[in-house]
Symmetry: C2
Subunit: 427 residues, 2 copies
């Protein structure tokens, strides 16, 4: 056998499009308490059964008036009632005002609120107030339905729920929300050299042995993006056991995720096993870090009780920690969101890049599109982590973003570059 010919590299955008095409939204929804719905994806439009605010109401503490009664500063009006938030007042008697608090419904007849700071009490007894400023109609009044009209779609199907969205759903009276079910992901590690932290102390590590770090961030990232994770440990190093492990995982999961074992020359049992059980494409993506990447599928046994219909997805990430981390955020994240029914194209693309100033140099251009680990500095520019090795996560922990540097491009200090915030990739 000769060494494989150099395959043309695949562009990142092409790889993302191919992955998203394969990510058919999962069937199945569930209803969860609104309190527990953070990071889930809405399975139905939420239509408002009420208007917000429900009534015209005061947006400041003060006095509700008929503006016709206050045509000049210095008017004195008797206080005919007192309306705290949560209480409906009586219709406002002409020639009087009502003490009113933020959020309280405006009494019938009133058309403005004078804020407390623009009034003075007459005597000490709250019977009457001087109005020191002439109110315009509608002043300090929030109109009924101003924020949400009845029947409006307030949150659309496919929306990923953050804390603010939970609050918005609650403000419509919704104590439970219909959401897409969580993707079930089986996580495997590959590599004879991997040792689990805690199993062997650093001083007893054999030559060539390294601690398995990818499993830690991959599990946490999968959970962040709404998945239910089965951590299945190290792929067995015998062919038959690998086949059996993959088959069982496929029957009960939507995605099998591995890291390592997908480079051209790498030796392991997982590539031929996935080939045999379904199919596998080895992509060489024109990006750095992150070149080797595999997408495939494993057929499910339709006879197994509890097995989902169809195929289980397979994604193989590179083994280098930084490559694995970056390809997860750029490729697996949108894949998982689409599985959950996220439909907004903006949420499935790379987050918006911002044009910032490089306070560093990259004197040697790379053949591949490169994602450099950088951090915003106090001067509004970007600093580069000096060691861009993909072997440890130090650069990724230090960084707060990536510079998306096109293939064949050098960077000189002062150049404007494209910055993608890690916080956007983790949102």
């Amino acid at each position: 056998m000769n060494a494989p010919a150099r395959a043309p590299l695949m562009a990142l955008d092409q790889a993302l499009a191919a992955l998203l095409e394969r990510a058919t939204p999962l069937a199945g929804t569930e209803t969860v308490p609104t309190f527990d719905a953070a990071a889930r994806v809405l399975a139905q439009d939420l239509v408002s059964a009420l208007q917000v605010p429900p009534n015209d109401n005061a947006s400041m503490d003060g006095y509700a008036v008929r503006t016709a009664d206050v045509t000049a500063a210095g008017a004195v009006l008797p206080v005919s009632q007192r309306i705290p938030a949560g209480h409906a007042g009586e219709p406002l008697k002409p020639g009087t005002c009502a003490r009113i608090f933020t959020g309280a419904p405006l009494p019938a007849g009133a058309d403005a609120v004078v804020m407390q700071e623009d009034t003075r009490e007459v005597g000490g007894d709250l019977h009457a107030v001087h109005i020191d400023a002439v109110p315009a109609p509608g002043q300090w009044v929030r109109r009924a339905g101003e924020d949400v009209t009845r029947g409006a779609v307030v949150l659309a199907r496919g929306q990923r729920l953050d804390e603010a969205a939970l609050g918005l759903a609650a403000s419509l009276g919704l104590a439970q929300l219909p959401v897409a079910r969580r993707p079930r992901v089986a996580l495997f590690s590959t590599g004879d050299e991997l040792v689990m932290p805690g199993e062997v102390p650093p001083e007893a590590m054999k030559p060539g042995a390294i601690y398995n770090s990818n499993r830690f961030f991959l599990r946490a990232l999968l959970q962040r993006f709404g998945c239910e994770v089965s951590d299945l440990g190290i792929v067995p190093d015998r062919r038959e056991a690998t086949l059996a492990a993959l088959k069982t995982a496929a029957d009960h999961h939507d995605l099998i995720l591995t890291s390592g074992g997908v480079s051209v020359g790498e030796e392991d049992h997982i590539k031929p096993a996935v080939q045999q059980l379904g199919g596998l494409d080895l992509w060489q993506i024109a990006m750095k870090p992150g070149k080797p990447f595999a997408y495939g599928h494993v057929r499910r046994d339709p006879g197994v009780p509890g097995a989902a219909p169809g195929d289980c997805h397979f994604i193989g990430l590179p083994g280098n920690p930084v490559s694995s981390y970056v390809t997860f955020l750029l490729l697996v994240r949108p894949f998982l969101l689409k599985l959950q029914g996220v439909s907004d194209p903006a949420a499935l693309r790379l987050p918006p890049a911002m044009a910032l100033r490089a306070d560093f140099a990259v004197p040697r251009a790379d053949k591949r599109r490169e994602f450099l680990r950088v951090r915003r500095n106090a001067q509004g520019g970007l600093d580069l982590f000096p060691n861009q090795s993909s072997g440890v996560l130090t650069s990724t922990v230090w960084a707060d973003g990536l510079v998306d540097n096109p293939a064949g491009t050098t960077i000189a200090p002062g150049d404007t570059v494209s910055f993608i915030a890690l916080s956007d990739l983790l949102a």
Copy 2:
């Protein structure tokens, strides 16, 4: 009683500094599995007991060589051994090469790796290869300790752990991590008008009644920032019951958080109760949304078994949902991080603002510093949510950031404004 005199407004930066001054890091640490340490804060420096990589190793699949043996392209070298990742090879015999895989230790004597794509096998039997490119010493070799030297502080005390940091800790062999204990937060809601979603259907809501939405996002945000939350529901509307509820909460929590009831004219029992049990300052912050804000403390009863020593913090947020949400992110978030021992000043300030183009107008200047809800558009500019009311969270759900607009400043389309990403405030 006359209406209170108009107090001078406090600048946001001043309010933040005052809050951080009061946020003494909590005593108490715990040890948690690295797998469960996401969003926690390190209580000790992590010092590496090993070097990464542990040995000089291959950064590509290919052939390890002595560069002295390959002085011209086309050299043919017999393959004297095969070194997969995780296996130590034998010293490399001069005049031969070793088949080697990414991550495998370089054999003694070898000083470079020729990548597989620059070689051709001689015959079909892997006994020898043509080397088609002349390697430079050190080529495709990662040096021992290149990424982490033994004894280096890899993650510092006070570092908040994200997924990448968990991976980095695992790569040092750490299966458990020392972290600050979670702040214990008692969450109260105030307001007679508040109804819990699920308790009353929209069509049966009384005039003036609104659903309690703040509780939903505040609870989820507190959890996001590492807190243990006791949701204590609505503050009782009787003075004695309020005093009792606050006292009990103070004995067992680090912070009592409420929303609503802190405006100048608002009526409720919580302000006088906190005054009586400790102390309370009502701040009027020169920001929009979010003017009313209260900071205080409740003394703990030293005789109660299980009560922590010292005082319990009290923070009262405004009742309007957007005001409550924004003041939480700008003020409570750094307060909570400091309680957990985060010490990096950059993590306790507002996140870095980015200069972006406004594709909207704000023709009327506000007297207060304003945080406008905006979204980045496909043209690299910012769109403004048309309804900037603080009454519903619609703007906040739609937005991906805030424009930090100085007091007294109008905005015309094309102006450069300061953008703060919500993802940074949620990170």
